[in-house]
């Protein structure tokens, strides 16, 4: 009877709300139209250096370029001279929006010795000076002349970069999801042990969650099936600040940057009704992320600082049969969604997030890099950084957090590339659209002090908060001064150092249970 009355009220409310919804949707689309961005071209290029090592035969390595703008990019590949050459993807050509091109670079030494050169990938009509002329550094060594390797001609792998690079480029751009401060990368997913692969673009780089999650609509046709436990299919629900993801757990082959292919369980977020409906135990009444458009990404590359996604704590696992799913509190270790970084054979103790400084007015598109590993290669060596130890007690409310003092109050805080602003409760005017972003009349200069947990390290972070409406009304998508309320309160109760924090910094993020020259994880150092 109780349920009946609830449903009746639901029916009434839906009836009333349909009218209001129509009006609001109209207003929202009007405002989107008013903010249409001018067209632009932007190239994401990686890797920017190719090391051929000591060549005993002719070697080929690959550079991947991608147009992350919304008009054709006019690409000019300026080839190197012998012993390097471009064997595919060279010359001048237009690259359509969202399209990728692999450029094959060959090293065919004719004498002994080390040789270095540069080549360039230019984009005549790109929107930033940085991507109008990207220099690629080439280096190789030889003990003498080499011949074409016997056997098959090397073909490009679908891996971004296609080398043994640990560098994953990502782009902060409003294309295609029209969102600000989202770092989007490309990775490759294959049905295990096959060449049925798809490059998944626009995957959100997220240090605030753990595990790879891809919408099922991006994986159709690959032949990826849910993992099974006897006759049950494994389902999973993961909880985020804005809602939940639901779908099957599937073990797949994953290629990220030039790291060796890993075979790991991921979550296939079910946006195509290929899996039983989410049980109510999963949703907890929160909203499921329904589609890439609704979520603002095609998938999540969760690089958070634990080795898996913590069944029963951070996530719930289910055994599904037919259309019914029941909770499984003891999923098999082979079905638990893993941190991809922890799964690398090397470079597995953390990540380095690097983003350039940007103008106070923001940028249309800005490229950053995730380097896998800390202190494992020449490109991920920590220089002089302060190490902020994070709470390593899984039972603590501040697990994986540091402490931050703002306005005389101290609370837990975390670093999160997947948050699109600096979020904290402060006495700053919020925007009138109820979005929770800050809209001060003029840009504010603020500061907060970060403190390590368990050590005396601390440091002041100076930041600015601009009017979010003005930022959103500009043509830009990357901002280092976008801020908002953390949870709608008037009292400081936590700091989410979102993507704006990372501009102009190189941040070392160590995984719990690992160590590096910076000590034992979890820590964040910059």
């Amino acid at each position: 009877m109780k349920r009946l009355s609830g449903r009746a009220i639901f029916a009434l409310a839906v009836g009333v709300l349909t009218i209001a919804t129509g009006a609001l949707a109209q207003r929202a689309s009007d405002s989107e139209a008013a903010k249409a961005r001018p067209s632009f071209a932007h190239l994401t290029v990686g890797p920017r250096s190719l090391g051929f090592g000591v060549a005993r035969a002719i070697k080929t390595k690959f550079i991947r370029i991608r147009n992350t703008g919304d008009i054709d990019a006019d690409v000019i590949v300026v080839a190197p001279s012998a012993p390097f050459s471009v064997t595919a993807g060279g010359g001048s050509y237009p690259l359509a929006p969202r399209q990728e091109q692999t450029i094959s670079v060959q090293f065919a030494p004719t004498t002994a010795g080390r040789v270095t050169q540069q080549m360039a990938i230019q984009c005549a009509n790109c929107n930033t000076i940085a991507d109008q002329n990207v220099t690629i550094h080439l280096a190789g060594n030889a003990r003498g002349p080499v011949a074409t390797p016997s056997g098959t001609v090397p073909t490009p792998t679908p891996t971004p970069g296609g080398t043994t690079s640990n560098a994953l480029p990502f782009s902060v751009t409003a294309v295609p999801f029209q969102e600000a401060d989202q770092g989007l990368a490309s990775i490759t997913v294959c049905a295990t042990g096959t060449s049925n692969c798809a490059v998944i673009d626009d995957v959100l780089v997220d240090t605030g969650s753990t595990g790879l999650r891809i919408f099922g609509s991006q994986l159709t046709g690959l032949g990826i099936a849910p993992n099974t436990n006897g006759s049950f299919a494994i389902g999973e629900c993961a909880f985020f600040g804005s809602g939940s993801t639901w779908g099957a757990v599937s073990t797949v082959d994953v290629q990220i940057a030039g790291e060796p292919t890993i075979t790991i369980p991921i979550q296939v977020i079910d946006d195509i009704n290929a899996f039983p409906h989410a049980p109510t135990d999963c949703t907890q009444g929160t909203q499921l992320m329904a589609s890439p458009d609704a979520a603002g990404f095609n998938g999540l590359l969760g690089l958070g600082q634990v080795s898996n996604d913590q069944p029963n704590l951070f996530t719930d696992y289910f055994d599904c049969l037919g259309s019914d799913c029941m909770t499984n509190q003891s999923p098999s270790p082979s079905d638990i969604v893993l941190n991809p970084v922890s799964s690398f054979p090397f470079d597995n103790n953390g990540v380095v997030v690097s983003l350039p400084s940007i103008s106070a007015n923001g940028e249309q598109a800005t490229d950053g890099t995730i380097y896998f590993g800390i202190g494992t290669r020449s490109d991920n060596q920590p220089g002089s950084v302060k190490v902020y130890r994070q709470d390593s007690n899984p039972n603590s409310n501040n697990f994986l957090g540091i402490n931050t003092t703002f306005g005389g109050k101290t609370a837990g805080a975390f670093f999160d590339t997947g948050s699109n602003g600096l979020f904290f409760n402060g006495n700053i005017t919020q925007c009138s659209d109820s979005s929770g972003f800050f809209c001060p009349a003029s840009t504010l200069s603020e500061s907060a002090t970060n403190q390590s947990v368990g050590t005396s390290v601390s440091g002041v972070v100076n930041f600015t908060v601009a009017n979010a409406d003005s930022l959103f009304n500009s043509n830009n998508a990357a901002f280092d001064n976008l801020g908002g309320s953390f949870d709608g309160g008037t009292t400081f109760d936590g700091f989410d150092w979102g993507l704006p924090f990372f501009f102009g910094r190189t941040v070392f993020i160590g995984i719990d249970g690992t160590s590096s020259s910076l000590g034992a994880g979890p820590y964040t150092a910059y």
């Binding site: 009946l4 009355s5 804005s242 704590l313 997947g418």
Partner: protein
């Protein structure tokens, strides 16, 4: 045809409404936001939770409110805020996952569901969902989630729900 079908739907809705109204009177069926403070324990039961302390707060001479706290079986701490009249005007939570909002938001759950679909700025780790009557704010990274919801129209005068409900 169309007019007829709308008319008959209205009638059906009126009938359902009348039934619902009577049921409501008989059972105090609704819990969560907007319900009476006496229903908080049933919210705790619905989430297999345990009641913790109960307190009356008097932040200003002009207004007071009651807070009841319980912890759900999933370890989420939930606080419900009731006006002197008994009406629950706010709920707040903290835990590794969200609490069951279909219980906590009570009769405001449907408007939250509708308003969720209109959310403009997408962010993985934050959501502000302002419906016609209730405001729901959620935030946090995986494993540490917080949120609060309140009905401005039910907040006792003199209280700022943004300061109180937390």
């Amino acid at each position: 045809m169309n007019i007829g079908s709308i008319g008959s739907r209205k009638l059906a809705l009126a009938g359902v409404l009348a039934g619902c109204f009577m049921l409501g009177l008989a059972m105090q069926a609704l819990a969560g936001l907007g319900a009476d403070a006496t229903s908080i324990e049933s919210d705790a039961v619905a989430m297999q939770g345990k009641m913790a302390q109960s307190a009356t707060r008097q932040p200003e001479p002009s207004a007071s409110y009651n807070v009841k706290t319980f912890v759900t079986s999933k370890g989420v701490t939930v606080r419900e805020y009731a006006a002197p009249s008994g009406a629950i005007f706010g709920v707040a939570w903290q835990g590794r996952r969200p609490p069951d909002l279909s219980v906590l938001l009570g009769s405001y759950y449907p408007e939250y569901v509708s308003a969720s679909a209109l959310k403009r700025h997408k962010d993985l780790h934050h959501a502000v969902i302002a419906g016609p009557n209730a405001v729901v704010i959620m935030a946090g990274h995986m494993g540490h989630l917080v949120g609060r919801a309140y009905v401005p129209g039910l907040v006792p005068s003199g209280l700022d729900p943004r300061a109180v409900v937390k």
